[in-house]
Symmetry: C2
């Protein structure tokens, strides 16, 4: 999967005026492979230590600034990152209370747009300017059941 996504990231980073170096490419690739958000240390491990933890953090900060990845805050003060919506598509999360794993899910089209309207409506009433939403379903995954 060196394709479209890779190009888009390349372009976005160029626009942001930063380099798309080897280390950064590896982090993006690891995130692209993953089926859910990953933390800095998970990325560090996934890359077999080829990118030091501090560099992973800096890379994630750069990527977040450029709008390439988005943070996701989970238990025990861990922050996990995933490809931004415009790259990975809009989706929601199943969070396992047993093992802490996070899995992506998509809602059926109809329900998704209905939910969007609802969100806009309710939030507007509270004087809130909506920029996005995320549904988090908690429970036990197949393995932890």
């Amino acid at each position: 999967m060196v394709s479209i996504q890779e190009r888009q990231v390349e372009e976005r980073l160029a626009d942001a005026g930063v380099r798309y170096t080897g280390g950064r490419r590896r982090v993006v690739a690891a995130l692209g492979r993953s089926g859910g958000p990953m933390s800095a240390s998970e990325l560090h491990e996934s890359l077999r230590g080829s990118v030091p933890v501090s560099s992973v953090y800096r890379t994630l900060a750069v990527l977040e600034d450029a709008g390439v990845v988005e943070p996701h805050h989970s238990a025990k003060g861990l922050t996990r990152y995933e490809m931004a919506e415009w790259l990975a598509g809009h989706h929601h999360h199943l969070v396992c209370q047993g093992c802490g794993a996070v899995e992506d899910i998509e809602l059926p089209e109809g329900l998704e747009s209905q939910l969007e309207n609802l969100v806009r409506d309710v939030s507007g009433r509270a004087g809130f300017r909506v920029s996005g939403h995320s549904l988090e379903v908690v429970g036990l995954c197949r393995r932890c059941t």
Copy 2:
């Protein structure tokens, strides 16, 4: 508001075999007053330092074990707590990207139950045993707009 909720907490802690001391009462009261989840240090401040931070943490741990409060993970590795659903009622959150504040909102009855069905349906298909869900709407609050 010394009423029902207070009684329920009292009972729950008694069942858990722990004391409902002054410090713990103050933490619960502060949470009850709040319109959204609060972190340990926010509680510490809100109580004008009358409860040391470490005690706030311990209190929150006890309350969580007893099922009186529930954690909510937010930006910058902060964990905020709020009264559990069975005490505060089911609701969702508006998260301000500007100031980080979290505000509670409720969905209209109809949409809420529809959302519940949807969640059960989609998650079940993924072999996931659902225990709850939470919708997080991100954007800018009135003050930060």
